[in-house]
């Protein structure tokens, strides 16, 4: 088993409980793309603002009691223009494709959506190819 698989699994179960629980109890899809899209289009209301508030509180608790350096490992090594280019592509891509790792990856796969399965396979493969080109394709 790979290093750190138990905490990854524990975190995944938490994410699954959050996504499945929100859907079962409230009927809503916990997709960050959808939440952000509505927040950008106008003031976020109702359950979406509460969900973001919960995420922010989790991060705040971690900031005060957790290992911040480990949680954001690698963030400070990314050149600012890479951050800007990546952010732009992630914003356009998730909006066009109606979802990201949470909406398609967790909720979509859990409800056996063909569109989500296709989306996940494509963005995973393209992300792996991108890393391969940057790290092993002579552009490093």
């Amino acid at each position: 088993m790979p290093d750190g698989w138990t905490i990854s699994l524990a975190g995944g179960v938490l994410i699954g409980l959050a996504s499945g629980g929100l859907y079962f109890l409230a009927g809503e899809i916990a997709g960050i793309t959808g939440i952000l899209r509505r927040a950008v289009g106008g003031p976020a209301r109702g359950w979406r603002i509460a969900f973001i508030g919960g995420m922010a509180l989790a991060a705040l608790v971690w900031l005060l009691t957790g290992n911040v350096a480990q949680a954001i490992e690698g963030l400070n090594d990314i050149p600012v223009w890479t951050l800007v280019g990546a952010g732009l592509l992630v914003g356009i891509g998730t909006d066009l494709g109606n979802g990201c790792t949470s909406g398609h990856g967790v909720c979509g796969l859990s409800r056996f959506s063909l569109r989500s399965l296709v989306s996940v396979l494509i963005f995973m493969a393209v992300a792996m190819l991108t890393v391969w080109i940057i790290r092993h394709g002579g552009l490093a």
Binding site: P2, W5, I7, S8, L9, G11, G12, V13, L14, I15, G16, L17, A18, S19, G20, L22, F24, L25, G27, E28, A30, I32, R37, V40, G46, W47, A50, G53, G54, A56, L57, A58, A59, W62, E73, G74, N76, D77, I78, A86, L88, L89, V90, G91, I92, D95, G97, N98, C100, T101, S102, C107, S110, R111, L114, R115, S119, I122, V126, A127
Partner: protein
Amino acid sequence: MRTLVAFIAGLAFGFGLLVSGMSSPAKVLAFLDLAGTWNPSLAFVMGGAVITATPLFWLANRRQRPLVGEAYDKPDRQMLDRRLIGGAVLFGVGWGLAGICPGPALVDLVLAPAATAPFMAAMIAGIMLSARMRRAPQRPDAPEPGQP
């Protein structure tokens, strides 16, 4: 009650990202780096999440309406269109460049505001840009993009 459910779900979701390592670009890029120091542990994040959420979605599909809500949000589009595929390609390139996707970006913004701000600002600009393109008048023969 709906607000409380969403708040607790957001709390668990946020801790899930932090505990699992999804908030760390280094870990995400190590997972994506098949040809290098590949660390497959993050596969257990999506695996664990899907295995946990699947029975809850299944149970929800056997109910008429949610306990705290009007109706279940059922994205019912089945068509695989260029928008879905093109969006996934662009998202994949962006995710591979920095190792950050939207959920972790929100969490990282609280942990390291200055370092995360350029990504967050660009991501919001990207969403606005895309929304403007989506709202642009379509050619009469172009199919309506529709909703998720």
